[in-house]
Structures are given as C-alpha cells and as structure tokens.
C-alpha cells in the first residue's frame, strides 16, 4: 500500500493547511476576534471557491485526458445568463431555468468535443474559439445588460434547513467525492487516465478514445454550467461578463492540485483543494493593509512556490 505521503492529494492539502496557518499567524489580531480564522470567513472562502472549484473538477478531467478547456469561464457566464433569462424574463421556475442553464454546459461540451474529436482541432485552439462564441452569445442575449434574479429569489433562503450560502460548498464537496470515486474506481476514470497517458496505446487497446474524450469535455461543460448556476442563484445575477478570464484560474487550480498538463496524471480532489488555496489567497490578501498593488505579484509567486513545493514533496515521496 502507498504511504500517506505519496497520496497525491495529501501534499496539496498540506500546502492548504500551511497557507491557512500562515495567514492565521500573520493576521493574528491584537484584540478581539480573529478576522481570518472564524466560521463566517471560512464559509465565505468556501462559497466563492466553489465557483472555481466545481469547474476545476471538470478542468482536471479534461487535462488528464491530455486536453485543455479554455471555455469554462465563458460557459459559467453564459449559463448565468441563460438561467437568468428563463427565470426572470420567461418567468420559469428556478429548477427549470437551472436545467436550461445546464443545457448550455451540455452543448458547450458537445461543441468542444466535436471540434476536438471530430474535426481534430487542438483542444487549446478549439476551446479558445468556443470561448469567444459563448461569451459573445451572452452579450447577444443580454444586449450587454443583465438579469437580476435576486428580486425573485427568497430572502434568507434555506434549503432543507441550511442557509443557501452552504449549498455551493456542499455541492462542490459532493461533486468532488463523486468524481474522485468515478476517476479512481470505475472503468470510465481508468479510460480517462489511459487516453491521457498514451492516446495511441489507448486506441490500440480498443478504447473508444473519441468517446472517452467526448465524455470528458461534456463533463467539464456540465460542471462549468453547475458553477454558472451556483453563481446565478447564490449571487442572484445573470450577466454575460461574469467569470471573465476565470478559465486560467480554474486551470491553475487543477494544476496546483497536482494535475499534470501533459496529461495522464491528476486528481479531482486535488483540483478542489487547489481552488481553495487560491480562495484563501483572495480572501486573506485584502486583509493585509497596504498590500493593494502587491496582490497579483503575491498570487503569481504563490502559484510558482506551491507548484515547486509540491514537486519537491512528490519527489521526496517517491525516493
């Protein structure tokens, strides 16, 4: 059996713990309650991270197949628009509107995979093109305005007794768990890893490589759409430019979580942990007075330092 140390996700978790420990220490208050280490703040981090985290699960899956999905941010934005459109404009129920939102993800996944599998475009360029199309579609639908869902949504809304704020993190954890099991314990996951490890070998082994890739992009599209629905519902907004540029943060989350961009290696649980690592940074950095213009530098450095640390840990684990 593997040593705990060698389990890929553990090193990412360690980094998250170190990060939280650091900010807890650094932001230790001279008086009163801790501004960083409190339940409300933890929930805040979880709530915002889940928008990235849910999509990062899909990003990790696509990257493991050896591909990449640059359209996730645009899918999130368009999903919020479509959900908003049906909920506010067409006055449908929330569930029905959310389902229409998920359709966006499904179509996006099918479109990307058709280009990649059917037309044999490189994933980077296919999803880059598709990104422009979805983002543009959002602007066309809204005519650069937005749908305000919050007016129609209940205030202090609870779902089976829990505040709506807890729903996104719970969805994220549930999805991460489900996909972690699917990836590790089911044939589908094994096929994803095989395709990413050696596509020719996968083909020669009788794997339906095209189908496997299609499922990966469709899954990624659906997960991005779930992020979009969460965004629309929890934040009460459907707007074309939402999540603009998030695709890079989402991919970075997956990579920081141990997913290798050359394919064949990675973890969906790691991707969620990666999203949390960035979520903590986004939350804690504004609490440091005077660091205003240093944010980007710190986030950039953090990405590098984390991946370097992670590599060192993994190498030590192997030795």
């Amino acid at each position: 059996m593997k040593q705990l140390w060698q389990v890929r996700e553990v090193s990412t978790l360690m980094i998250l713990v170190l990060e939280v420990a650091f900010f807890t220490w650094y932001l230790w208050p001279s008086d009163g309650g801790h501004p960083f280490l409190n339940v409300g703040n933890a929930l805040l981090i979880l709530k915002y991270s889940s928008i990235y985290g849910i999509a990062a699960i899909g990003a990790a899956i696509v990257i493991i197949t050896g591909g990449i999905d640059l359209s996730s941010g645009a899918v999130i934005g368009l999903t919020s628009v479509v959900t908003g459109y049906f909920f506010v404009q067409a006055d449908w129920s929330l569930t029905a509107s959310a389902l229409m939102g998920l359709m966006v993800g499904l179509s996006a996944g099918l479109a990307s995979s058709w280009l990649i599998v059917g037309m044999r475009l490189p994933p980077f360029i296919a999803t880059l093109g598709v990104m422009g199309i979805w983002r543009g579609a959002g602007y066309i639908i809204t005519e650069a305005r937005f749908y305000d869902l919050s007016a129609k949504l209940p205030r202090n809304w609870t779902v089976v007794g829990v505040s709506i704020d807890w729903v996104p993190p719970l969805v994220m954890v549930a999805l991460a768990g489900t996909f972690q099991v699917l990836m590790k314990r089911f044939q589908w996951g094994r096929a994803i890893f095989a395709v990413g490890g050696n596509e020719t070998a996968a083909l020669f082994s009788g794997l339906r490589v095209g189908l496997v890739k299609t499922t990966a992009y469709v899954t990624a599209g659906l997960l991005a759409a779930i992020s979009g629905v969460v965004l629309a519902v929890v934040q009460g907004q459907g707007k074309a430019d939402l999540a603009n540029g998030y695709e890079l943060d989402i991919i970075a989350s997956a990579v920081v979580g141990g997913t290798s961009l050359t394919g064949g290696r990675g973890s969906v649980a790691g991707a969620v942990l990666g999203a949390l690592i960035f979520g903590v940074l986004r939350n804690a950095l504004p609490q440091i007075p005077g660091a205003t213009f240093y944010d980007r530098v710190i986030v950039g450095l953090a990405v590098i330092v984390i991946v370097v640390m992670d590599q060192i840990m993994v190498r030590r684990g192997e030795a």
Binding site: F186, A194, G196, T200, A201, A202, G206, L207
Partner: protein, 516 residues
C-alpha cells in the same frame, strides 16, 4: 492441405506513393503457428495492423473459417478474439503494470466498480508465467524496455483469444526469456489458439512455427513448410537473391577475418572502475581498447542498459570512476558525455532515438551537426551525407524528406544506428543496435561498426541477440543481476559458455549480490 483458418485475400494498402502491400493472399490454418517474415519494410506490420483493425486496406478481404471478417476499429478485432502485440512499444507510462495490462478491458464487479484484487492476481500470474521481474503495482514508467515488451505480451495473453498476433515480440529478449514466452505460447496453441508470429530471428521462427510465409516488397512470395525448408531458402526468398555470404547468426564463430587479432594499445579508450548505481548494478569494472568491440550480454534486467545510460550521463552513479583515453571524466549531462567523446545508440528508438517531426535527412545528420556545433545548415552537404547513410544502411524510404513515422520499424532502427555511428566518437555505446533489423541490414550495420572500430573507435555493445554478440565481439562481458559475472574472449566463446555465466546454474566465483 491447409484447413482454412485465417485467410488473407488480395490485401493491398498504399501510404501515399508507397505501396506497402500489393495484393497479398495466403491462408493460415486454424490452430497453426504461422510465421510471417520478410525484409524491413516488406509490409508485415501493415498486414498485421489490417488484421487488428487499425489500418483499413485499400482492397482485399480477410476471412476466418471461410467467413468474411472486417474490423474497422481495434475494439472490434479484440472482441473477435484477435490478440495483438504491436511492434511499437505501446504502454501507459502513467499507469501501473496491472492497469496497463487491463487497459480498456478492466475487470469490474457487478456495480461496475473496478475489481483491483482480481486484476492484480491475474497480473501476478501472467508475470510469473513469463518470468517478468516486476510487481503488478510498479508504475510502467519505471519498467525497463525489455520488461515493458513482456508486459505487452502479457496484455495480449490476459484475455482469451482465438488468434494471437505477435509482431517482433522478442527484439529486446534473450533466449532465456524467449523460452518462457514460447512456453506460454505453446500452451496456448495446445488450447487451439492460432498464432501469427513476426520476427527477424530465423532460429526463433523455426522453433515456434510450422509454416513460414515470406513477404517481399509488399508481395506474397511463398509459404514454406518448416520441416522441409532450410533457412537459406527462406532468406533467399526474403531478399530475392542469394543471401549475404555470411549471415552473422548462422554461425557462432567470429565472422570478420579482415580484422586481425587485435593488438590493443596499452591505454584503453574507456576505463570503468567500481561503477555502482544501486539497485541496477554494482561494482562494475572493465575497459575497452581503441579498435575493440566489447559485447555485453546478460538477461533482461541484468543492468546493462543502466550501465550504458550511466556512462552517458543520463543517471548519476553512486560510486566509481570512468576514464576516457586515460583521462578521468565526470559526466553530469549527456552534453558532457558527448564532449568526452562518448556516443550512445539508445535502446528505445521511438522514445529516445527519433524525431518524428523532422525529416529523415535531418534525423540522420542531427547528432553529427550537434557535435560539430555548426551554425549555418548547408543543404547540399547534408543531403550528400544523409544519402550516403541511406545507401550504406539500405534504408528503405521513398525520399529523404519523409518523417520516420512513415518507415517500417526496422528502417527506423537503421536510422537510429546510423545517426550515431556517423558521429565517429572515441567510444561508441550501443544498446541493442540491430533490434528488429533484417538479416541483410544487420550485416551492413555490423560491417559499419567493425569498420569504425578498425579506424580506432572503441565499442561497447549491449545486445540480447547472443549470436550477434558472438559474431561481432572481440570480448564478451556477462552481466547477471547487476554484477559483472565474467569475461570471455570472443573467439572461444560459445552460446553455452555465455549462457551459463548469464544464468543461475553455474558455480559463482563471487557471492551473489542481488536477491532472486
């Protein structure tokens, strides 16, 4: 009369201007062990890939027991019981050995959950049968080339198949491993499995197969009965003319009378003292003189590749000294090694030897150009140099602008051997330089090596092809379990004496270091 089993009927396939198969028809009896031989580029692999559903033929048909079969994907072929071991090493480096073997056809329980236990058990069993020294949980990236080849075989054996197709499965294997493999294949035959076997090692073909089909230039030549056909006839049918005068492995005495009994200068070109890199090898000392060809033999996993790679700066040794021309060298990179006058012809041509994005010409001249550090590329000069190589090695290619993926496996190997030979290093390290190369070309490569050695180059050659080692080497080093077990003069050595040193059944002059 042959009872119709697998029948190829007028199968033709062209790749652009290259006619790989020109209407091949022959029949393999059900339950037969059938060999398919031919020179490099004769179309063997193409034929097999058509059978496996990877390549679609331009025309022609296949039938099984009189019934037309047609596979448009590898999956269909697998489902119809065609088990295939491909010539190209096709592994998933990111997965374990078990996962590699079951890729695409995992065992699951009734909930669809992977049954790791069952798969591991089956893997363990297969690895034992084939005597592969790896565990089921080993990551494939850590498995040596030869073991990886056996894992590929295990993959085909893991499932019941009606036809087992083996495309040069033994290129990295020595006789000992081949024995295990053939044992397993023979057992399958007894269960009624039809075997189609491709190899350039005629003795193996004779050991395993009843009938031998010869292909030449994409055309069917003839099918021979093993019992009534001497190997010279097969070779003649393959090349379409008289076979080369001396076929290296047809005899076990040294072949090159042109090279006089070597008078080596006192200072060796390569001197290795106490080199260790645990657990691959330990305390290895030897030297190679200028003009000398030293063969290094050993079973799979005995550490030979590791020694060459360590010498070439691809890994750092734990201990030991290396000297070139009496000068101690410390190589930390391949660049250091190249500058010290070493060159390595690597074992894995796909991964280590070839640039599939570059033309044949560029592939052939690159190491030489890199060594000379030329700035501006001179087309004419390169063209001439490359053309000379193509001719010397009889590389079968439509023109110099093709990329290596359009060439047959053996021709790819010739590029790999040729490109480093052209750099005329002080010390040439060769790892399985002629694997998958046909008889004639092998002879040419041997000639080239001998020629370079005569000009003063020191050669250290690792080969699993014992007849080749016996034919070419002036001296033979034998490795076992990471230790140097003995040294034999090339002239006196026989297969028996070498094999005895390489395997366990011999009294040890030193206590065994590794564990069994």
């Amino acid at each position: 009369m042959i009872t119709a089993g697998l029948e190829f009927c007028d199968v033709a396939k062209a790749f652009g201007a290259v006619q790989a198969l020109r209407g091949v028809s022959f029949t393999i009896a059900a339950g037969d062990a059938h060999a398919c031989v031919g020179e490099n580029g004769a179309g063997k692999s193409t034929l097999l890939k058509i059978l496996a559903g990877i390549i679609r033929p331009d025309r022609g048909a296949l039938s099984w027991a009189g019934e037309r079969i047609h596979f448009s994907t590898p999956r269909e072929a697998l489902e119809h019981g065609i088990g295939m071991v491909y010539q190209e090493m096709l592994a998933f480096p990111n997965l374990s050995v078990t996962a590699n073997i079951f890729a695409g056809r995992e065992i699951t329980n009734r909930w669809g959950v992977l049954d790791e236990r069952a798969m591991r058990a089956r893997t363990q069993e297969l690895l034992m049968q084939l005597h592969v020294p790896v565990t089921p949980d080993t990551s494939m990236q850590h498995v040596s080339t030869a073991c990886a080849q056996l894992v590929q075989v295990a993959r085909a054996l893991a499932f019941d198949c009606r036809v087992l197709v083996l495309d040069e499965p033994t290129t990295s294997l020595t006789d000992a491993e081949v024995d295990h493999l053939f044992g397993v294949v023979t057992r399958l035959r007894q269960q009624g499995v039809t075997v189609l076997f491709v190899s350039h090692r005629l003795p193996e073909v004779y050991r395993l197969c009843d009938r031998i089909t010869v292909l030449r230039d994409g055309q069917f030549v003839d099918t021979f009965e093993r019992a009534t056909t001497p190997s010279d006839d097969i070779v003649r049918a393959m090349v379409g003319r008289e076979p080369p005068r001396r076929v290296p492995h047809s005899s076990s005495v040294p072949q090159f009378p042109s090279s006089p009994v070597p008078q080596f200068p006192s200072s060796p070109a390569l001197q290795v003292r106490g080199l260790s890199r645990r657990p691959a090898f330990e305390d290895v000392s030897f030297q190679v003189a200028p003009g000398e060809i030293v063969g290094m033999f050993g079973l799979v996993g005995s550490g030979r590749t590791e020694i060459l790679e360590t010498l070439f700066g691809l890994a750092t040794p734990d201990a030991g000294q290396v000297a070139v021309d009496g000068q101690a060298i410390y190589v930390r990179s391949t660049r250091d090694a190249a500058r010290a006058g070493l060159a390595l012809v690597p074992e894995n041509r796909q991964r280590q030897g070839l640039f599939f994005n570059l033309s044949l010409r560029h592939n052939l001249v690159l190491p030489l150009a890199a060594k000379q550090g030329v700035g501006l590329i001179r087309d004419a000069g390169e063209e001439t140099a490359a053309r000379a190589q193509v001719e010397a090695l009889t590389i079968k290619a439509p023109h110099l602008k093709v990329t290596p993926d359009a060439l047959s496996g053996g021709n790819q190997q010739k590029i790999v051997a040729g490109k480093w030979l052209a750099t005329t290093p002080k010390v040439l390290l060769l790892d399985e330089p002629t694997k998958g190369v046909d008889v004639g070309a092998k002879f040419e490569i041997h000639n080239l090596i001998r020629h370079q050695a005569d000009a003063g180059m020191a050669c250290l050659m690792v080969s699993s092809d014992l007849p080749e080692v016996l034919a070419l080497a002036d001296r033979i080093l034998v490795m076992r379990e990471g230790h140097l077990r003995g040294e034999l003069p090339g002239a006196g050595a026989t297969e028996e004496t070498v094999m005895r040193l390489a395997t366990h059944d011999v009294d040890l002059d030193r206590p065994a270091g590794g564990n069994a």
